[in-house]
Symmetry: C2
Subunit: 263 residues, 2 copies
């Protein structure tokens, strides 16, 4: 299958423009699964919970989800992308999975970073995996990368590909952890990070790109620039994620000894 | 406190010589905690279970443990080192911790690599932490590095320093995973790997050194060569491992969400 990663540069609050910009980037490529950044249509730097709520959308009814479904239908592809989700009184930092037949799944970011703790409600759904036929997909968002339990929970449920929308400001950190997550779990990981700078407070945020797809052996199949709007599509063989053997005697998941862990 | 790592080149089966060589290397340095390689006195490449049994020793009664205790007493230090442990009919790939007052703890390698599965009994004791006063010490051995549960189990029990005796043949793999283990858990890690080549079968094993001490921010404080017998001592501030804050809102262990993991 072909995995595409979109490294866009959203303008805060310009939802329709940001969606259109991504679709423009994607249009000249073909992929079976696209991964877009965290909060790719809204922007990231919310000043307070009210701003997050103003830009939050219901799932799957909101315009971002509907636009993604329409694109997925028109191109016969699957898309993972991040958006602020409104559900009753709560706003989640959410990632959704849609396909040609519509909405499939949501993941609400479990490990919120820094001021996200002010602006979002922590995820309340367990890590879960969706079988889209060509592969089993798990979702995690940005800072989840630092917690090995995130990718492990997905791998243990059979994920072949971990889609990882991100808005990373530190360079070459999540890239290293995600390389290890791919390696230790024997899965593909696809991190879509944004670029550009947001200056809505005195504390400007510059996002550091380096979006990447990593193979189950921990090697990056592609890594994008730190500061340019770009897309990449890589061909992967999903079966590489189903062979967890390290040696003829060792298995990345089968060798686990949960009875002796203290977690 | 000062952590010393010993990168020795044992000769298979020459237990007394290998012990003496390490002590010679250590003698010109001073450390509070020394970490020696996996199976540092016996060598690694056992041809069959009978060979492992022949070189295995009881703990703490055997000559290797007793020699380490004597050294620890004479220098007022603590030592972590690997040896094949004989207990009734079982032989474990074991790491022990000794101090000036004698034997303190053992860890029996939980994740056995490749033909170790033929020659050793898998560890049957949970990951555990020992408070030696100047720090809380956890032990793991070599291939345990690939399983994030190993270091996590130790960190969650309060380990400040993870002592990691190793006999690594792949270069720059465990070095990368241990950097992430230190970072994700906010602990110091001290990996003592051996160098040299063993040619007891057609499949020669060349060990790849690069012994290292990593700080809780994931940065290597020292990394030794890939092929030379060496030691290094680094000064650390244990309190760096007790501050798990990432931001004012984030904590490496406190942010975990075990209720939403599927492990």
């Amino acid at each position: 299958m072909r995995i595409g990663i979109v490294q866009s540069s959203p303008v805060f609050g310009e939802v329709k423009k940001n969606i259109a910009d991504c679709f423009d980037l994607m249009a000249s490529h073909s992929a079976d699964l696209w991964v877009l950044p965290e909060l790719f249509a809204s922007g990231y730097q919310f000043l307070n919970p009210a701003e997050a709520r103003d830009l939050a959308e219901t799932v799957p009814g909101g315009i971002t989800t509907q636009a993604l479904i329409e694109y997925a239908y028109s191109k016969s592809c699957f898309i993972v992308a991040g958006l602020p989700e409104l559900d009753d009184d709560s706003v989640y930092n959410c990632s959704i999975l849609v396909g040609p037949d519509g909405y499939l799944a949501r993941y609400r970011k479990i490990h919120l970073f820094y001021e996200e703790k002010t602006n979002f409600t922590p995820g309340d759904l367990p890590f879960a995996v969706v079988d889209i036929g060509i592969a089993k997909i798990g979702m995690m968002v940005c800072f989840d990368h630092l917690f090995p339990e995130s990718a492990r929970s997905l791998a243990l449920q059979g994920a072949d590909v971990i889609a990882h929308p991100a808005n990373l400001v530190l360079p070459d950190l999540a890239q290293r952890t995600m390389s290890i997550r791919a390696l230790e779990n024997g899965v593909f990981t696809a991190t879509a990070n944004r670029v550009g700078t947001e200056t809505r407070t005195d504390e400007a945020l510059t996002y550091t790109g380096q979006s990447q797809v990593v193979a189950p052996d921990g090697q990056a199949l592609v890594r994008l620039s730190q500061d340019r709007v770009e897309v990449a599509v890589v061909e992967i063989d999903v079966s590489d994620a189903r062979d967890k053997a390290i040696t003829k005697h060792n298995d990345k998941l089968g060798d686990r000894r949960p009875d002796l862990y203290r977690l």
